[in-house]
């Protein structure tokens, strides 16, 4: 079966972001960019499905600027067969991205779409669920295990308080949680091979999708800094402070 994997170019997870002084956003100039960690897990899962002979073709898709080709090349190096960039310099919201992905799903007809559960920049946690709504497919969000049998997909999900197992009819949308797998590193030969794999570029207009937004970011500010407190010398002093100063016990 064909698997579609969505990947997003985001600030590297090791970068400590800074808010711009004018409050217009975070400063991304000269900052390392990478594939969103949850998307790496999505690519890895698709590659494992192919290695087990379940997936026959993996198509990686990204919505973003021309530089997002780098992340698609990474996906190709990890094992995706071909890639599609929906190129836009606008920062799109989840609904617009979901509509673009829906257009790709209509064309590619994958049996399974795997996305990350959230991107570590906008922290929306929406795109997979929205794509599921637009396609009418079942959704297995926050997946920690996938098991395919016939035209059914068993998904173990990370939920508050434990794990939940659902059975979904295919085609379906899955969003990845951290424990689904541990992504591999791309090997040098595979990085070289990835350069020759097909990467197509289209625009939202080519797909006939309007990406207008009703959400406006008025300002972005740094969170309130927490002041470091004091060091206590002993357990007795700690208990005394918690009882009499903080009054929390």
């Amino acid at each position: 079966m064909k698997v579609l994997v969505a990947v997003k170019r985001v600030v590297d997870y090791n970068v400590k972001v800074r808010v711009k002084a004018d409050g217009s956003g975070v400063d991304l100039a000269n900052v390392k960019m990478s594939m969103n960690p949850f998307c790496e897990i999505a690519v890895e899962e698709a590659v494992r499905l192919k290695e087990r002979g379940i997936a026959t073709e993996i198509v990686a898709v990204s919505v973003g600027p021309a530089q997002a080709q780098e992340q698609l090349r990474t996906a190709l190096a990890l094992g995706a067969d071909r890639a599609l960039l929906i190129e836009t310099d606008e920062e799109l919201g989840s609904l617009a991205v979901a509509k673009l992905l829906k257009a790709v799903v209509d064309k590619e007809q994958p049996q399974l779409v795997i996305t990350g559960k959230q991107a570590i920049d906008s922290d929306n946690n929406q795109t997979g669920q929205m794509l599921a709504a637009l396609t009418g497919y079942a959704q297995g969000t926050f997946a920690s295990k996938l098991e395919l049998s016939g035209d059914k997909l068993k998904v173990v999900r990370e939920i508050d308080g434990g794990l939940q197992t659902l059975e979904l009819a295919l085609p379906a949308i899955v969003t990845t949680d951290l424990r689904l797998n541990e992504p591999r590193y791309a090997s040098l030969p595979n990085i070289m091979k990835a350069k020759k794999k097909p990467l197509e570029t289209v625009t939202p207009a080519d797909l006939g999708v309007s990406v207008a937004s009703t959400l406006k970011t008025l300002k972005v500010e740094a969170p309130a800094e927490r002041q470091a407190g004091i060091k206590v010398g002993s357990v007795a002093e700690l208990v005394e402070k918690l009882k009499n100063e903080a009054k929390v016990i």
Binding site: F142, I159, E221
Partner: protein, 309 residues
């Protein structure tokens, strides 16, 4: 203008996060209705009707809603939403699962995990793992919003007398089914609503050593959490994880034991009222956010702390 709040529950008990979500709705202002979608959930509906300030409780009691599967519950909520200016749900794993599906069915953008209400159309929400706070304004006809429960003080759970109205269920979508659930059983309070949380990190060295924290937690009536490092090392199950990729907590007292304080952990607990850090490394970043730091060997001081309480 009327607001619909989606209740969080397990068909037996109304979850506390519902009260925080109602509080966020009250800050927006308007007639407040609560939807209880579930199966055999009449006790939940009765609890919801007692929440102060709620005018009406809608109950959709149908086997299809027993586990709040998004495929079944999203069309129900989207159908109701057209009569409201705002639809709010807690940003629990349930809310995060069904709410974007509702928003997309309505063709509106969702505002995720708000931490403050500025006005009826303007909200604050954390981005970049809480390293920045965005103020966003929505011109969508229906504002679909998930609420970070810890950012709002709970509405009063008693004193209201809302009317209860039964809705017909829309049945199964037929694309998904519930197979099973493995829930951690614990007599301790739930992590996200506990007044005191004690979390352990890699410094605990093993899963067995978490026993030290459990003993202390039982003394304090606390919930026990873990850092991602401790979860990755297999010391604790993932549902105990506190941090950006786990649970967000904001208790009155947070005790971090053997936790260095990675950014991703701080994102999950830095809004706690009082933070205590116990770590033998005086340079650990956790001390930069702790109100009270104790530089010591946790294996000596945790049992001592338990004795002195």
């Amino acid at each position: 203008m009327a607001i619909l709040v989606i209740a969080e529950h397990d068909n037996a008990v109304l979850a506390a996060a519902t009260l925080n979500t109602v509080a966020a709705a009250q800050q927006i202002g308007g007639d407040l209705h609560v939807l209880v979608a579930g199966s055999g959930c009449s006790a939940v509906a009765e609890s919801a009707a007692k929440i102060a300030g709620v005018a009406k409780v809608l109950v959709a009691d149908d086997a299809a809603y027993a586990h709040l599967l998004a495929e079944n519950v999203a069309p129900l909520i989207a159908g109701l939403a057209k009569g409201y200016s705002h639809v709010l749900a807690p940003a629990s794993t349930n809310g995060k699962n069904y709410l974007p599906r509702v928003a997309a069915l309505l063709d509106v953008e969702q505002i995720s995990e708000i931490v403050a209400v500025e006005s009826a159309d303007t909200f604050k929400r954390p981005i970049y793992a809480g390293n920045a706070i965005a103020t966003v304004q929505s011109s969508a006809p229906i504002k679909v919003i998930s609420v970070r429960a810890t950012a709002f003080d709970a509405a009063a759970g008693e004193g209201g007398s809302a009317s209860i109205e039964a809705l017909a269920g829309a049945g199964e979508a037929g694309t998904s089914s519930f197979v099973g659930e493995e829930l951690a059983k614990s007599d301790r309070p739930e992590l996200t609503s506990a007044r005191v949380v004690i979390s352990g990190g890699r410094g605990l060295q093993s899963g067995e050593n978490f026993g030290l924290l459990y003993a202390l937690a039982d003394k304090l009536g606390a919930a026990v959490g873990a850092s991602r490092a401790a979860v990755d090392a297999g010391f604790a199950p993932n549902d105990m994880q506190v941090g950006q990729t786990g649970k967000i907590v904001a208790p009155d007292l947070y005790i971090a034991v053997g936790i260095s304080g990675a950014i991703q952990h701080l994102a999950g607990m830095k809004d706690s009222k009082v933070i205590v850090a116990i770590n033998k490394d005086a340079e650990a970043p956790i001390f930069q956010v702790a109100d009270y730091g104790l530089v010591a060997d946790l294996f000596e001081v945790v049992p001592e702390l338990e004795k002195q309480l």
